[in-house]
Amino acid sequence: MKGKPLAAIVSAGLSKFGKRDGLSGREIFAEAAKEAFERCPNLEPKKDIGALIVGNMSESFEHQCHLAPIMSDWAGLLHTPALRVEAACASSGAAIRYGLFTILSGICDVVMVGGFEKMTHRTTFEATEYLAMASDFPLEQWNGATFPGLFALMATAHMHEYGTTEEQMALVAVKNHHNATLNPKAHMQREITVDQVLSSRVIAKPLKLFDCSLISDGASCAILTKPEIARKYTDTPVYIIGSGHGTDAIGLYERDSLTSLKATRLAAKEAYEMAGLSPKDIDIAEIHDCFTIAEIIAYEDLGFCNPGEGGKFIEDGVPTLDGELPVNTSGGLKAKGHPVGATGVAQLYEIFLQLTGQAEGRQVENCNIGLTQNLGGSGATCIVHIYRRG
């Protein structure tokens, strides 16, 4: 049945994002869990939560595999079944989807989903190398590709095919930095200008430092329940009504298009159909702006505008905080920060706050339907979810 609640979100938590010196991933995850539990006094975490599904990209950062039982323990859930999922930067978007499946299976009534990454203690070289592991090794990494390099290839192609400009990309960064000034948990809370973006140092032409998201430490989590029992835990649940998961070839060079991500299109199609909604029904969205060009391409792939019109979409101000369809009110990966494994559930957290009227200085009025789009790597995975105010 279209638009039927698949699960309810009854609580969510987010750590402060940023450079969290002296902390390890598990301690940051515990910080997010604490908020989710405090927001939900009727929840008895250890008794009620049937499983924890936690997203994390890379064991290289902390030299630690076998992460799920650790997160379960540090969250105060020792002995609760826990599993890590990995889908590069879409790891915790995937955790949401498999959290939903766990509830829909009927085995668990309450599931905790989350994600984390501890990154900033590593050098730029190390972080660049670990992140690049999410691209194809034999042809891309071996022959000199980097992550910014792959998105730069898409940017060059988009500029060549549609006339998209570096100024339009810069506007995405300016917007997201502005939104982050209103989010006390954001990694970076300062306004930037188009000129600052354009004159920042080149990372991979045409992408400059301020076109790139941040290397951050952070964690996120949410409590999902069967829809029928949501009101036992909160008067203001948010329902997940659509879920989509697209995959594509690992190598950018192998894909049909260099200016559109098929994984996003497939995930969006599945999620819209399940929700019985279309792009024009979306009131607010958190989308995966790992690089400014990625947000522009996502406007198009999610159907917010036509192919090639993403640059104009931002130029016209549609996705700004007071625009018709605010995108990345949290500040996005660009300015809120991008602890990769935490990002998918951090997007859900922002939609949860917005749809329950708790987004304070960045609250969007009259929003009922939200969407999140979480991309893995250069686009071999995409997870889309659609949410409705309860």
Partner: protein
């Protein structure tokens, strides 16, 4: 089937070491693909042959990488792009011998080889692009 003719990435790079750019061709549907794999990704046939690909192609998109992984840092900034060969196969790689300001979508490039293998795993050589 002998080990040397298996449709593996290892074998792809063995050919690169012999200065040959080879792809897998499906004898059933005609699809040519790189990297090779044990089944045709289009029709799932296992009836495959190796074919030598033409070295010429055109640049589909490019970037200039300034922040590089450690093992490429001594080359940075370097040009990197995706080239579509005449057979329709696409390859990513470093572009040498072109001034960065002269890079253009659509420009003709050809594949060349650096047959030195890495001292540690995976002990593969590399290919790169240059002007014809």
């Amino acid at each position: 089937m002998s080990e040397t003719t298996q449709f593996t990435i290892e074998q792809f790079y063995k050919f690169i070491g012999e200065r040959k750019l080879m792809g897998a061709k499906c004898n059933k549907c005609g699809n040519i693909f790189v990297p090779p794999r044990p089944i045709c990704p289009k029709c799932l046939s296992e009836d495959l042959s190796w074919v030598q690909l033409g070295n010429r192609g055109k640049l589909l998109t490019y970037t200039v990488i300034h922040v590089a992984p450690e093992k490429f840092q001594n080359m940075a900034p370097y040009a990197f792009g995706i080239v579509e060969l005449r057979d329709g196969v696409r390859l990513p790689g470093i572009i040498q011998g072109v001034k960065h300001e002269d890079l253009m979508v659509g420009m003709e490039l050809e594949v060349d080889f650096d047959t030195n293998v890495s001292p540690t795993w995976p002990k593969w050589p590399r290919y790169f692009f240059k002007p014809p």
